[in-house]
């Protein structure tokens, strides 16, 4: 049903050639996007919820992330099933799962944004530089990228965290190194194809210096791909962080990382306390799904050449 409306809208509103829109028409743009890409809008909504929850964690969470709350009825608070006091139950120490989930949103967002801002931006600079440098530098760098590509993202991340020790910032660094090679590759090939376009040739012909072409013509036209890559890799970063923390080498154990919350669930209490193993996973899944479908929709809207692929 949703997809039918989607298609009709696509027919009625042909994609525009320009990728830049003035920000003033913000709300109208959002409405339009929602009409054309309902699934993408749901993704955007999930992302928005994540951001709000992360920002307002102290207001929203009933207890602290490390707090051991008293039970209203008294007695031990370890592994209490979901009830009116602890909406999502408590964990093996007696901490409120809901509160930890809410604070965990901060970790996911911090690691996701941190690694994507650093990783995608750095890859962009390197990718553009390589495409322009060409020759032996480009060749050599391409081989380094090939070598980096051979190291699976998660395994690199594991090795780096092993070397540097587990802290959130090291996790960010590990994710950055894990994502940089494929992104450089994508950006480089995008810039190479942009360089061949007529308007770039025209700019060169009227004597525009290379830096002007890069900043006025190439980079603005990479904006769409930047946004799309950033959205996808936010999901990737959140999954890698969760995986590392799940394996016990990511966020330090007292931090309420969603992945870390699942470590115990996998090891024990499968039947006695399933809530501990279910809710953090739902959170990871929802957020990553949100970023991915938003990324898909953004790609379709911003880059008509890739529509539906």
């Amino acid at each position: 049903m949703a997809n039918q409306t989607n298609q009709r809208a696509e027919v009625a509103v042909p994609p525009r050639a320009g990728m830049f829109q003035p920000a003033a028409t913000g709300i109208r743009e959002v409405k339009r996007f929602t009409r054309r890409k309902p699934l993408g809008a749901i993704g955007g909504l999930l992302v928005l919820v994540l951001v709000i929850v992360a920002l307002m964690a102290p207001v929203l969470a009933p207890y602290g992330a490390r707090e051991l709350p008293d039970r209203h009825e008294g007695g031990s608070t370890v592994y209490i099933p979901p009830n009116s006091q602890f909406l999502l139950g408590t964990d093996h120490v007696g901490r409120d799962v809901l509160s930890r989930l809410i604070y965990g949103a901060r970790i996911s967002l911090y690691v996701g944004l941190g690694s994507v801002l650093i990783g995608i931006t750095a890859s962009f600079i390197i990718g553009v530089a390589l495409a322009y440098a060409g020759g032996i530098i480009d060749m050599a760098a391409q081989r380094v990228v090939d070598a980096l590509m051979a190291l699976p993202g998660l395994i690199i991340a594991l090795a780096i965290v092993a070397v540097l020790g587990s802290s959130l910032n090291n996790v960010i660094l590990a994710i950055v190194i894990g994502m940089i090679a494929p992104v450089i590759r994508t950006v480089r090939s995008q810039v190479l194809s942009l360089k061949e376009l007529d308007y770039v040739t025209a700019a060169t012909a009227i004597g525009a210096p290379p830096w002007r072409i890069v900043f006025r013509h190439i980079i603005p036209n990479c904006f769409a791909i930047y946004l799309v890559l950033a959205t996808y890799y936010l999901g990737f970063a959140i999954i890698i962080e969760a995986s590392l923390s799940f394996l016990g080498v990511g966020a330090p154990p007292d931090q309420p990382s969603w992945g870390g919350m699942l470590t115990r669930a996998a090891q024990e209490h499968v039947l006695t306390a399933p809530w501990v193993g279910i809710f953090p996973g739902v959170a990871i899944f929802a957020v990553v799904m949100g970023f991915n479908i938003l990324g898909d929709a953004l790609r379709d809207v911003l880059d008509p050449r890739l529509r539906g692929r």
Partner: protein, 320 residues
């Protein structure tokens, strides 16, 4: 043909050399260095380690030599099959890895095969009936497969098995040759979990490859000859669309290897993953270094094989 293989093979050498440099470099910049670790391990408390002790152990390990000599020495030993000894266990790494490696490889292969079997029909149907209900369902399934963390899906499978079937795969590990039935019982669920994730990617690629091929002129020709639709799809489209799918499956192997490491932790399978995680927790860098290098080598080698196969199957590649 031979020229193509030679060219592709020559490209492999600098790449693998660079990979060894990256892996070596990563562990060379370790802040807490190996000598310190061995000493604290020996004497049980770090407080009593003196400057001289560190110097002595560094000399024993050859850490006082220039870095390029250390690298050369390390590489030479690896070429001879000596990955060094584990600092934690004190045993040669390659001995520890041998059995575990085959477990991980078997798991990964099983997952790839399962993913391929599910993904190709899904992708093809999705492309043939583009924008149908089926297409939307299969695309949604692909999105779900990418977004579901494998370890969580693993936990859910364990929950499901214990809750609904009251059964769990037998712990430990039975070899494929010794006890194939138990072996399959142990590996099939983790393999299915991995395959679901892998399938998501492969189905996407299969779909877009099919869409690409369906637009080709020879498809119109085949239809205008009066061939029935399934003949056209099966004989003309699928054959050409399968190539990129196989390539991507090959390139996916690295990602799959990462997933295997996590899923081994969930299902308590004594493969390379568990070994690697233990090594990281014990800060046993020699092991981590060895495993990372081995994983990279396997991925590179597989990519080489895929590229060569691709060249054999598709002559256009050879001459480009």
């Amino acid at each position: 043909m031979y020229a193509y293989i030679a060219r592709r093979g020559l490209l492999f050498i600098p790449t693998i050399l660079l990979t060894t440099i990256l892996v070596f470099g990563l562990f060379w910049i370790v802040p807490g260095d190996a000598a310190m670790m061995i000493l604290t391990g020996e004497e049980g408390d770090g407080g009593k380690v003196t400057e001289e002790d560190i110097k002595r152990v560094q000399k024993e390990l050859g850490l006082d030599r220039p870095v390029y000599i250390q690298y050369g020495d390390w590489l030479w030993k690896i070429l001879q099959g000596d990955f060094g000894d584990s600092v934690w266990y004190g045993t040669p790494i390659l001995d520890d890895l041998k059995d575990r490696f085959f477990i991980t490889l078997e798991l990964a292969m099983l997952a790839i095969v399962l993913a391929f079997i599910a993904a190709v029909p899904l992708g093809v149907l999705s492309a043939v009936k583009q924008d149908s209900f089926l297409d939307h369902i299969s695309r949604l399934l692909a999105l779900v497969g990418i977004a579901l963390p494998t370890f969580w899906l693993g936990i859910l499978v364990i929950y499901g098995l214990t809750y609904f079937a009251g059964w769990l795969p037998p712990l430990g590990y039975a070899t494929l040759w010794g006890d194939p039935f138990t072996n399959l019982q142990q590996l099939i669920f983790p393999a299915l979990v991995l395959a679901f994730h892998d399938m998501a990617f492969t189905a996407r690629v299969a779909r877009s490859a099919m869409l690409e091929v369906m637009r080709e002129d020879y498809m119109r020709t085949a239809r205008s000859k009066g061939l029935n639709e399934w003949m056209v799809v099966g004989r003309h489209a699928l054959k050409n669309a399968l190539l990129p799918v196989i390539t991507v499956s090959g390139y996916q192997f690295g990602r799959l290897l990462g997933g295997t490491i996590i899923i081994e932790s969930v299902f308590v399978i004594p493969g390379v993953g568990r070994y690697l995680i233990d090594a990281i927790i014990h800060r046993d860098f020699v092991v981590v270094q060895g495993v990372v290098l081995l994983a990279a080598a396997v991925v590179l080698l597989l990519n080489l094989v895929v590229d060569i196969l691709y060249g054999i199957l598709d002559p256009r590649i050879r001459y480009s």
